[in-house]
């Protein structure tokens, strides 16, 4: 099992944090921009679809998978979207994503005075904490 990437989007659909693991090909800036746009668009539509066809009031989706990867999704009550891509054998990561929001994002980004509310996460502490956290998973590489 391996971890591939982590994206965080703000409410405006801008990617405010992105990090990759275990990927060989380096993407150009332009490719990345394109990827963010596609990803946000897909998440947004999928979310609307999922809640739209639900027979009862329901939660949003947690993950989907193909034969090569699995995408895990969590949205904070304030509309920040946390996305992690792993290989398809990884179990549900919802609790971990919640932890990233509650214990890492809130502590090291949202309450950091240097961080702008909807801005990119540039603080080095956040990256460091996230790295420590995923390393605890043991399987991340």
């Amino acid at each position: 099992m391996v971890l591939y990437s982590c994206h965080i989007f703000n409410r405006q659909g801008t990617c405010i944090y992105h990090r990759e693991w275990n990927q060989k090909a380096k993407k150009t800036e332009q490719q990345l921009e394109e990827e963010y746009k596609l990803m946000y668009g897909m998440i947004f539509s999928l979310k609307q679809f999922v809640t739209g066809i639900a027979p009862k009031e329901s939660e949003c989706f947690h993950s989907f998978k193909t034969n090569t990867y699995k995408l895990h999704f969590y949205e904070s009550p304030t509309g920040f979207k946390f996305i992690i891509i792993t290989d398809p054998n990884v179990a549900q990561l919802t609790d971990h994503l919640k932890h990233i929001y509650q214990k890492i994002f809130v502590e090291f980004a949202a309450t950091n005075a240097l961080h702008k509310v909807d801005g990119k996460i540039e603080g080095f502490l956040f990256a460091q904490q996230l790295q420590t956290y995923v390393e605890q998973w043991g399987w991340y590489n």
Partner: protein, 190 residues
């Protein structure tokens, strides 16, 4: 009613858990902030506005802490009514250490008042007559905090201080009016 009791519990347990600072430190710091503003702006209305604006900036961040620490799954807000109680019982307790009462709903359920007796910000404060007549709302920051916090959870509200013990009223009262729900934004494709 049980919902309110539940929220009260959430508020109490969260309050017990989070880090605290000396309330006098907060009171004094806030006091010097307001005096400085009064000196800088000289105009009471401008100070009210400035306090509200500062509160707004606090609110948009504070909501994250609220969401992360209070674990709101216990009482998620489906209706505006739940939101009101959550602010009064959890939000106020968490960050200020006391509960507020929710009263005076209007018929459409879009407007309510938060009423509270204590307010640590008001401690040791005595307003000069001039500021009383010019209409300074000493704790106007709180209005901004509520507005900012709710804005982040897709609610646009207007908050106005209506009563303040520093101006001779018996309680503090903040009137909150729901304007509309903000929609999630779709990405523009160029």
């Amino acid at each position: 009613m049980s919902n309110i009791a539940k929220l009260q519990k959430v508020g109490d347990s969260t309050f017990g858990r989070i880090e605290k600072i000396n309330s006098e430190l907060l009171t004094m710091t806030y006091g010097s902030l307001v005096t400085q503003l009064l000196r800088d702006f000289e105009d009471t209305d401008a100070v009210n506005k400035q306090l509200e604006k500062m509160g707004h900036k606090i609110g948009v961040r504070l909501i994250e802490e609220y969401m992360a620490k209070s674990n709101p799954s216990a009482g998620s807000c489906k209706e505006f009514k739940d939101t009101a109680e959550a602010i009064a019982k959890v939000g106020f307790k968490m960050f200020l250490g006391f509960n507020a009462q929710v009263t005076s709903w209007n018929q459409e359920q879009t407007q309510f008042s938060l009423v509270f007796q204590e307010n640590p910000l008001n401690d040791f404060v005595e307003l000069p007559e001039r500021l009383k007549t010019e209409g300074l709302f000493y704790s106007n920051l709180l209005c901004g905090v509520i507005r900012g916090a709710l804005e982040m959870v897709q609610m646009r509200v207007e908050c106005i201080f209506v009563k303040c013990p520093l101006r001779g009223d018996d309680v503090s009262e903040i009137k909150v009016t729901l304007i509309d729900y903000l929609k999630e934004i779709v990405l523009e494709d160029e």
